[in-house]
């Protein structure tokens, strides 16, 4: 739930409770006050009736009841009470309030009762309720509105910074720029975030430098090995030396491939490929295929291509590596004269080729150095690089084997 919604809900609950209590109290006090006024009025009315009686005038009033009687009447107490009367006009019983008192007028005991109606008790209650509901609604609506606008201005820097943090990557070259704020808590948070970002960036740079330095340290000796071995190859050699020399050269080659592959994986994990732009995947596939066409032909692999014009937002380097790795995989593992296909549309990119089933668990296919096929000469990183590139782009790559066909299916995000 959004913060503003939450605050508004709390505010609404609080307002309802406060207004409810205020309404009830108001009703009770008002009722007491009115009761007292009515009692005063009735007492006065009774007093007036008594003085009329004293003057010997005849009293005939519907809401006044006068009884004369024995001395015993004088013992009855003063009584204030509720009663119900039937209203012929409105055809309903209505609440009335009466006051009875015994009085001695001209030495004769009288019991006098005067009555008055509750002047629309329910109307009072209803009006109060309506008034309070109206006040509550106004308070909540206006309050929420004010809250909303105030919060928007208070939370604005926070929301801006949140967006910036979302778009921030320690691998990017830009520093983290946070919007200024006058709220102390946000200022503190900005300081903490800036520190965190700076620390992350420092550590990332250190890691990157370490990876690059390590690779540098390995690449230079490898260069020496490579060039020296080629130089040795230039002199006429004894046949006993040729084989070990060829093996050594091949090993150096593999070592440099593995080193490059591992370096690439490290960079992919750091998301170090920032050269993203719109890449025409169809053109990329056609270009890489034209490079490898002779090898496919030589192995007799017939590649059926169904490529629609589709562009992705990605790094050109990575797309070249992705496509060439999948093609190399095809060339390495498809038997001679196999049929293969490459399909590209807006949903997926599919590489598939005929071939015998895997001799190992398919789950190991994408793991590093996970093949363990005797005689396999690859560097064991090709498909894990494919998987990592897909991950970086938020795509899903899946392998299936059906009807003698190996299929790699890359699904672009919707």
């Amino acid at each position: 739930m959004r913060l503003l919604t939450r605050i508004s809900i709390y505010y609404l609950c609080l307002s309802t409770i406060v207004l409810g209590i205020a309404g009830i109290l108001l009703y009770i006090f008002l009722r007491n006050e009115i009761s007292r006024e009515m009692e005063e009025q009735l007492e006065m009315q009774l007093d007036m009736v008594a003085s009329e009686l004293q003057g010997g005038r005849k009293i005939s009033y519907p809401l006044v009841d006068i009884r004369s009687g024995e001395e015993i009447l004088m013992r009855l107490p003063k009584v204030f009470k509720d009663t119900l009367l039937y209203d012929h006009l409105q055809k309903e019983t209505e609440g009335y309030y009466y006051f009875e008192e015994s009085k001695k007028i001209n030495h004769k005991p009288y019991r006098i009762r005067v009555m008055t109606t509750y002047i629309g008790w329910e109307n009072y209650a209803r009006t109060i309720t309506y008034m309070f509901l109206l006040i509550a609604t106004l308070l909540v609506a206006l309050g929420t509105l004010i809250n909303y606008f105030m919060n928007r201005s208070i939370w604005k820097p926070f929301l801006i910074n949140l967006r910036r943090m979302q778009g921030y990557s320690v691998s990017s070259r830009e520093e983290l720029q946070l919007a200024r704020t006058r709220t102390t808590e946000f200022q503190e948070m900005n300081t903490v975030l800036s520190d965190l970002a700076a620390r992350g960036k420092r550590e990332y740079t250190a890691l990157k430098e370490f990876t690059e330095n390590a690779s540098h340290e390995i690449q230079t000796p490898l260069s020496i090995l490579k060039t020296r071995l080629e130089t040795i190859s230039q002199v006429p050699l004894d046949s006993a030396v040729i084989r070990p020399l060829a093996d050594a050269k091949q090993a150096v080659n593999r070592l440099s491939k593995v080193n490059k592959g591992l370096l690439l994986l490290a960079k992919l994990e750091n998301d170090a490929f920032q050269d993203k732009r719109q890449i025409n995947l169809r053109a990329t596939i056609i270009h890489n295929y034209s490079l490898m066409e002779d090898v496919f032909e030589h192995k007799g692999i017939k590649v059926n291509q169904q490529l629609s014009d589709y562009s992705v937002f990605a790094s050109q380097t990575l797309m070249d590596i992705l496509v060439s790795n999948l093609m190399t995989n095809m060339i390495s593992h498809a038997p001679a004269d196999a049929a293969a296909s490459i399909c590209l549309n807006a949903i997926q990119l599919v590489f598939s080729n005929e071939g015998p089933p895997l001799t190992f668990d398919a789950a190991r296919l994408f793991s590093r150095f996970g093949k363990g096929i005797p005689g396999y000469k690859g560097n064991g990183l090709g498909l894990s690089i494919v998987k990592q590139i897909c991950q970086v782009n938020g795509w899903i790559v899946e392998y299936t084997y059906k009807e003698h066909r190996h299929t790699f299916d890359i699904r672009f995000k919707e």
């Binding site: 540098h216 690449q219 230079t220 260069s223 060039t227 080629e230 190859s233 050699l237 070249d320």
Partner: protein, 224 residues
């Protein structure tokens, strides 16, 4: 043609020096940033081969100095880092080509020669050997004015052999040149052989002479 190697690893300098000297280049070397800066300031070179990581500075900072001195000088970056940013940065600064360590000296030679043809000769000069003529720009080969049809890979292979003539070139070096180093070349060796065989056949049927020799277990050697 005058080359300058800026590289702090003495064995690599020695290798490059001996290779390019034997190919008829005039070679000089600098093993540090300061030495390189001084040489670039004092002399003119056709091509500078520049290592990015030097003990007392980065080769990156030398690029603009070379460019200021002479716009025609070819600059080839040699880097162990294989970092995309380095590549983009150096090309933006004015470098002409970029090669990642570990490299084959034959590949470096192919790059240097291509750069030389492109920058210094402006791609106009034809290459001759025996009675063959190569037009590098239009990628055509002819024998006594009779054009010989070559596939793109065969043409690239011929060019590669020509800049590395009289030298045993390994199959994996050729494969890396023909298909780039994204590809695992172990599977392409047969294809290298097929291209070599076709090229050899086309050259010998025109001239009656076999230029490519197979060196057992090592690779091929082109002589003319």
């Amino acid at each position: 043609m005058k080359l300058l190697f800026v590289e702090d690893e003495p064995i690599l300098v020695e290798e490059m020096n001996s290779y390019f000297s034997s190919q008829g280049f005039v070679c000089e070397q600098a093993i540090s940033f300061s030495q390189a800066a001084q040489k670039i300031h004092n002399y003119r070179y056709d091509i500078v081969i520049l290592d990015i990581t030097l003990p007392d500075g980065t080769g990156m900072e030398l690029i603009s100095g070379i460019r200021e001195k002479d716009i025609e000088t070819g600059i080839l970056i040699l880097s162990a880092k294989n970092s995309l940013n380095d590549k983009i940065d150096s090309l933006n600064l004015g470098a002409d080509d970029y090669l990642t360590k570990p490299f084959y000296i034959e590949e470096l030679s192919a790059r240097v020669n291509a750069l030389y043809r492109r920058k210094i000769l402006k791609g106009s000069q034809n290459i001759h050997f025996d009675a063959f003529t190569i037009e590098p720009f239009s990628k055509k080969l002819s024998y006594k004015k009779q054009e010989i049809g070559l596939t793109r890979k065969e043409f690239e292979m011929l060019m590669y052999f020509l800049v590395n003539k009289e030298r045993v070139v390994s199959k994996s070096a050729i494969a890396e040149h023909l298909w780039g180093d994204h590809f695992d070349q172990q599977d392409n060796f047969d294809t290298v052989y097929v291209h070599m065989k076709n090229l050899r056949k086309k050259l010998s049927s025109a001239s009656g002479k076999d230029y490519i020799r197979t060196v057992y277990g090592m690779g091929y050697k082109f002589s003319c």
